[in-house]
C-alpha cells in the first residue's frame, strides 16, 4: 500500500472503472493530459474506458482519431515531444502492430538518439489485451514480449482494479514512454475497493501476493487469477506457494523474484502468450543465472501453445489453473 492511501475514501470499482477513474484524475490534475484513440470520444471507447471524459474535458483533450494505429502513435509521440501528456488507446492489443515502428523505432529511441535534446516521455499507450472473451486470433493476443525486447520502453500490466488506477497514474506521469496493457478478460470481473483520490503504485516493483516456501509462482495481468487458483489447489495437497505479481515487465523486479526463488528453490512462470520467445523465457534465463545453486528443479513455464490464438480451441490453448497446478506438482516431484 502506498502512503496516505489508507486514509483515502474508496469506492467499489471494477478494473474498467478504475482505468476511467485514473484517466479522470490525471486529466483533472494536469491540463497537459490528452486522451486520443479510435472511438474514445463521445462514445467513450468500445469498452467505455474513456466514458464521460470528452464531456468533462472537451473535444480538444479527449478525441476520436481516424482509424490508423500508426497515425495514433505518431501523433501521440509528437504531442509528447511538444510537452503534452498523451494517453493513446489502441482498441485491442492485437491492433498495436501497425504502430510497431512508431513504438520501437521512434518512441523507444527518441531520447537516446537525440542525446536528450528531445524526448517523448509523456507518452502512455493503453491497450486491452489477452484471451477469455471468445475473441479468436485478433481479439485475444498478449503481445507484451515484443515490447519487453525494446530498451527505452516501460511495460506495465495491472491485475486488479486497485493496481490499474495506481499503476496507470504512475505510467502517465512517468518520464519514459509506457505501454500499459489492460487484462480485458477481467475488466468487469475484477472488482475491489479503489481510492477515489490520487495515488500511484511505483513502476518496476513486483508485489508478493502470497508468501510461501515450496515454490515461487510468477505472473501478471489476468493470469494472476489462474495462478492464485492453482496456489489454492496446491495448498490443499500441502504445497506452499509464494505468489508474485510482476506488475511491471520492463524493467522487471529481478530482486524480488530472485530473493523468493533463493528461498523456495523452485520457480514457475505463467503467461498467456505462446511459449517460444515469451517473457517467461527471459525470467527463466535470468533466474537460472542468479539462483543457480538454489534451484532444486528446472524452472517451469506454463504458457499458451505455439500457435496463433484460436477460437473454439481456446480452452486448450490457455494456461489455466489446472495446467499450472500440474506443473507445480511436477516441479515438487522433480
Amino acid at each position: 500500500m502506498i502512503e496516505g492511501v489508507q486514509e483515502m475514501k474508496t469506492s467499489r470499482m471494477n478494473l474498467l472503472q478504475a482505468v476511467n477513474s485514473a484517466l479522470d484524475t490525471a486529466m483533472s490534475g494536469d491540463q497537459r493530459v490528452v486522451c486520443l484513440g479510435e472511438d474514445i470520444g463521445k462514445f467513450g471507447g468500445v469498452f467505455r474506458a474513456t466514458s464521460h471524459l470528452q464531456e468533462k474535458y472537451g473535444k480538444q483533450r479527449c478525441f476520436n482519431t481516424p482509424l490508423t494505429e500508426q497515425g495514433i502513435l505518431g501523433f501521440a509521440i509528437g504531442l509528447a515531444a511538444q510537452g503534452s501528456v498523451p494517453v493513446a488507446e489502441i482498441q485491442f492489443a492485437d491492433y498495436i502492430f501497425p504502430a510497431f515502428d512508431q513504438i520501437v523505432n521512434e518512441a523507444a529511441k527518441y531520447r537516446y538518439r537525440s542525446g536528450d535534446e528531445f524526448n517523448c516521455g509523456g507518452l502512455t499507450v493503453r491497450a486491452p489485451y489477452g484471451g477469455g472473451i471468445d475473441g479468436g486470433l485478433y481479439h485475444s493476443q498478449s503481445p507484451e514480449a515484443y515490447f519487453c525486447h525494446t530498451p527505452g520502453l516501460k511495460v506495465v500490466i495491472p491485475s486488479s482494479a486497485y493496481q490499474a488506477k495506481g499503476l496507470l497514474l504512475a505510467a502517465i506521469r512517468d518520464p519514459d514512454p509506457v505501454i500499459f496493457f489492460e487484462p480485458k478478460a477481467i475488466y468487469r470481473a475484477s472488482v475491489g475497493e479503489v481510492p477515489e483520490g490520487d495515488y500511484e503504485i511505483p513502476l518496476g516493483v513486483a508485489e508478493v501476493v502470497l508468501e510461501g516456501s515450496d515454490i515461487t509462482l510468477v505472473g501478471w495481468g489476468a493470469q494472476m487469477v489462474q495462478i492464485n487458483k492453482a496456489a489454492e489447489m496446491a495448498a490443499t495437497v500441502g504445497i506452499s506457494c509464494e505468489v508474485i505479481d510482476l506488475r511491471s515487465l520492463l524493467p522487471w523486479d529481478q530482486q524480488t523474484v530472485a530473493d523468493s526463488v533463493t528461498k523456495t528453490g523452485r520457480l514457475l512462470v505463467s503467461h498467456e502468450a505462446p511459449l517460444t520467445g515469451g517473457f517467461a523465457g527471459e525470467i527463466a534465463a535470468t533466474i537460472q543465472e542468479q539462483c543457480f545453486l538454489s534451484l532444486e528443479a528446472p524452472i517451469s513455464r506454463v504458457t499458451g501453445v505455439d500457435t496463433p490464438f484460436p477460437l473454439v480451441q481456446e480452452a486448450y490453448y490457455l494456461p489455466d489453473h489446472l495446467k499450472i497446478y500440474e506443473a507445480i506438482v511436477a516441479s515438487l516431484a522433480y
Binding site: 476520436n64 481516424p66 482509424l67 505455439d306 500457435t307 500440474e326
Partner: protein, 392 residues
Amino acid sequence: MAIDNHAEVTSSLAFLDSAALRIPTLSLLQADGSLTTGAKAPPLHQKLAEKLYRDMLYIRCLDERMVGAQRQGRLSFYLTCTGEEAAVAGTIAAFQPEDMVMAQYREQLALRFRGFSTAEFMNQLFSNAQDVGKGRQMPVHYGSRKLNFMTISSPLATQIPQAAGYAYGQKLSGQDACTLCYFGEGAASEGDFHAGLNMAAVLNCPVVFVARNNGYAISTPASEQYAGDGIAARGIGYGIKTIRVDGNDILAVYAAALEARKIALNNSCPVLIETMSYRLGAHSTSDDPSGYRSAEEEQQWRQKDPITRMKNWLIKQQWWQEEVDQELQKSFRSEILQELKAAEKRPKPALDTLISDVYKTPPAHLLRQLTDLESHVAKYPESYQMHGEGGR
C-alpha cells in the same frame, strides 16, 4: 525525364483545396423504382436482376435471424450488411467466379451470390467441425477457396495491398481474371490503404477497389475520419480511375462495377469505386449506436432502403410481385432456422486442430506441445469439453 510531366506553370500564387475536385455521385434509380431523367440502365437482364434481389433479401433475413440468435446467446458475435446490400450485390454481380474477392467483413452477400450455402454460413458462425475454417475465427470471418473468396481477417485494411499483389500475380500468370477488394471508409485511413492503392497504380494491377462509405466506423462519423471529399478524391491523387456511386442504387452500382472490371482487365490497372451508403444497423452485436447517433438520422436512411428501391424497380419492370416477397422471406427464414439448429448441434473440431496449419507440417515442438496437452486433457476430461470428434 523525371518530373517533366508536371509541366503546367503559373505565376499566380493560389492554393487549391477540395473545391478543385468535386466528384459527383452516379445515381440512376429513384426511390420509387423509376430511372432518373436521362439515366440509362445498365444491361441487367431479368434473371440476374431477380437473383440479385433474392440474394439481398436472403441476406437481410440471415442478418435479422443471426442478430436474434446472438441476443439469445446462441452465438457470440454477429455483424450485418443491413443498408449496404445494393453496394455489395451490385459489385459482386459484375465479376466472374474466377475473380478473387478480398473483403472486409460486411460482404456476406458476395458469398451468397457465389453460392455459399446456408449450412456453410452456419458452420462458420457456430465454429463447428464442418467449418472449413476449423472453428478458429470469430463469427463472420468466412472464407472459401472454391468460391475464390479470401478468408476474412480482422485487422483492417491489410487485404488492400494484398489485393494489389494478388491481382499482380493473376496478371503475371496470364489469368483472365482480376481481384475485387472491399473495405470501409474507416479502414481507408490505415497506412495499408495508401500503400495498396499506390502500389496497385504504379505496378499496374488489375484490381477493383470498392470503398464502402457507410458514414461510420463503429462510432466514428465520416466527418471525424477525413476532411476531404470522401475516399474517391484520393483515387485521383494516386492516378487511379475513380467513380462515386449511390450505394443504395443497385443499377448505378452494377453499371459502375461492370465498367470497372472491363477497365481493370483491359488496361491492366486498378479502379476505385466509392459506394455512398449508410450502415443501418449497429456496427456489430457488440455495439449500440444510440450512444453516438440519432434515431432520426437512422430513420432518414431507412427510407432509402436499397432493397425496397430495387423491388420497386423490379415491380415496375413487371419482373416481380409483392406477394412473392413474403413467401420468399418465409422460406428463407425457415431454411435459416433449420440450418442454424443443425449447425449448433454439430460437434466441434478435434483437439489437434489447435496445432495444425500453423505450419504446413507441424514441427517437433508443436507435436510435443500437443502430446503434453492430450495427456493433460485426458487427466481432466470434464474440464475441457469441446464436444470434440471421436471423443478426443
